[in-house]
């Protein structure tokens, strides 16, 4: 029954990109005229069975009046491990903002960063220190003698800059990236 298998492949493709439960009605629309409800039900079952085989890491779930493809509970540990690994090579928006402030306003203290971001950025600064993008460059001689931060050599290497004067100016960014341009 090749037709069911073709339909099954189509169903799996839709479920794979949907990111949310897909109803049988939606699948009927996608399949177009000439496809019976029963055929689609069979196709969904075919996808389900295929993922019950050994070696599959995902399954078809029936939820909220529809179907979705989801990982299996037994892989939760692996997924946690993977997401942790991935986030070590990533920057949050908060980290990017803080890095930008340090890059353009260095040397700068944590209270000054907090003032600009209006959020306590201690944890983010710690992350940047761990990633070696930012480093401590002494203390500021004001009340509380806070630590001052600078970008590191690794920072320059990562962004391909010879020195800090090579950071693009706001005007340059506007020209290159079309910031603020009103046309679409």
């Amino acid at each position: 029954m090749p037709e069911t298998m073709d339909l099954a492949a189509m169903v799996e493709a839709v479920l794979a990109v949907a990111g949310e439960p897909v109803t049988l009605e939606a699948l009927l629309v996608v399949a177009g005229e000439g496809t019976e409800r029963a055929q689609l039900e069979e196709a969904v079952e075919a996808v389900r069975r295929r993922h019950e085989q050994e070696g599959s890491g995902v399954q078809v779930e029936s939820v909220a009046g529809g179907f979705r493809l989801a990982t299996r509970p037994e892989h939760e540990g692996a997924l946690r491990e993977y997401l942790g690994y991935r986030s070590r090579a990533r920057l949050s928006q908060a980290a990017l903002e803080t890095l930008a402030i340090v890059a353009y306003r260095q040397p700068i203290t944590l209270p000054e960063i907090n003032f600009l971001r209006a959020v306590n950025s201690a944890a983010v600064v710690r992350t940047l220190l761990e990633r070696k993008l930012v480093m401590v460059a002494g203390r500021k001689q004001v009340v509380g003698t806070p630590l001052v931060y600078r970008t590191s050599k690794e920072f320059l290497v990562h962004f391909g800059l010879l020195d800090l004067s090579a950071l693009p100016t706001p005007e340059e960014v506007e020209q290159v990236a079309g910031e603020g341009a009103s046309e679409p």
């Binding site: 990109v17 995902v58 991935r86 949050s92 928006q93 890059a103 971001r117 693009p168 706001p170 960014v173």
Partner: protein, 256 residues
């Protein structure tokens, strides 16, 4: 194309179909191919003429002929004139050489572009999967590898804009440089002297915006005090002030 989709009453006559060119090199490559000549031995006079002819056609079609095309038109003419000069064996290089080199390089670019287009076409419909998972990253994170200086500079701009929104600069109050009372007296004298005083022209020719504003308030006061009438023939037309004959009240005069 479905012939039924064609409009039945299209104007008859030849229509000029001009391909879209990506620039002077693209146009030149097109001409070289159209004239069926070798890129290594371009008949410059012929190509030069065809090039200018195409630029004319583009202009007639109201296509924008950018400066880039004109630079090449001038260069072609220069090469053409150099070709006419007698050359001695092995003394100078062919005047066309640099042009040929650029054409050859550009042809490579076009081929690579076609190659990329082919690769992309094979991948239409190839979308990354989004399976449901018990754990989702809490926050959208950026691949550090993919963060460049532009992303950095944009992030700074966002911070500064947000900061400015949350800490708007304090309202600056300018010291009063003109008094309404003084202006009432001044304007009253002007109106009385002229019988029909063009208010708008007067306001618009003041060098100082603050003075114009003060004068406008003074004019409204004159009308309110019934010492002047205001007339306007139509919206946005000149506003004329005419004296009613009534004097300025004493309190205005004494405060001024």
């Amino acid at each position: 194309m479905d012939p039924g989709l064609l409009a039945p009453d299209q104007p008859a006559g030849p229509t000029v179909v001009l391909p879209v060119f990506e620039g002077p090199l693209d146009l030149l490559l097109h001409l070289v191919r159209e004239e069926k000549v070798s890129i290594w031995d371009i008949p410059i006079a012929k190509i030069c003429e065809a090039y200018q002819q195409t630029l004319h056609e583009m202009e007639e079609l109201d296509l924008e002929v950018a400066g880039d095309y004109l630079v090449y038109a001038a260069w072609l003419l220069l090469i053409k004139s150099r070709m006419l000069l007698p050359r001695h064996e092995g003394e100078e290089k062919d005047p066309r050489q640099e042009l040929v080199e650029r054409l050859v390089e550009y042809e490579k670019v076009k081929r690579a572009a076609a190659e990329l287009a082919g690769l992309a076409e094979l991948r239409r419909g190839v979308e990354p999967v989004r399976f449901a998972a018990p754990l989702a990253p809490a926050e959208v994170e950026l691949d550090l590898e993919e963060v460049d200086v532009i992303a950095l500079a944009r992030a700074l701009r966002e911070v500064l804009e947000r900061h400015l929104r949350e800490h708007p600069p304090a309202l600056q109050l300018e010291p009063m440089r003109f008094s309404v009372q003084e202006k009432i007296v001044e304007l009253f004298e002007l109106v009385s002297r002229q019988r029909s005083f063009p208010l708008l022209s007067h306001l618009l020719t003041r060098p100082d915006r603050l003075e114009s504003v003060t004068l406008l308030v003074a004019a409204l006061e004159l009308v309110r005090l019934r010492t002047a009438d205001a007339h306007q023939r139509e919206p946005f037309a000149e506003i004329y002030l005419t004296p009613t004959g009534a004097p300025l009240p004493m309190d205005v005069l004494s405060d001024a």
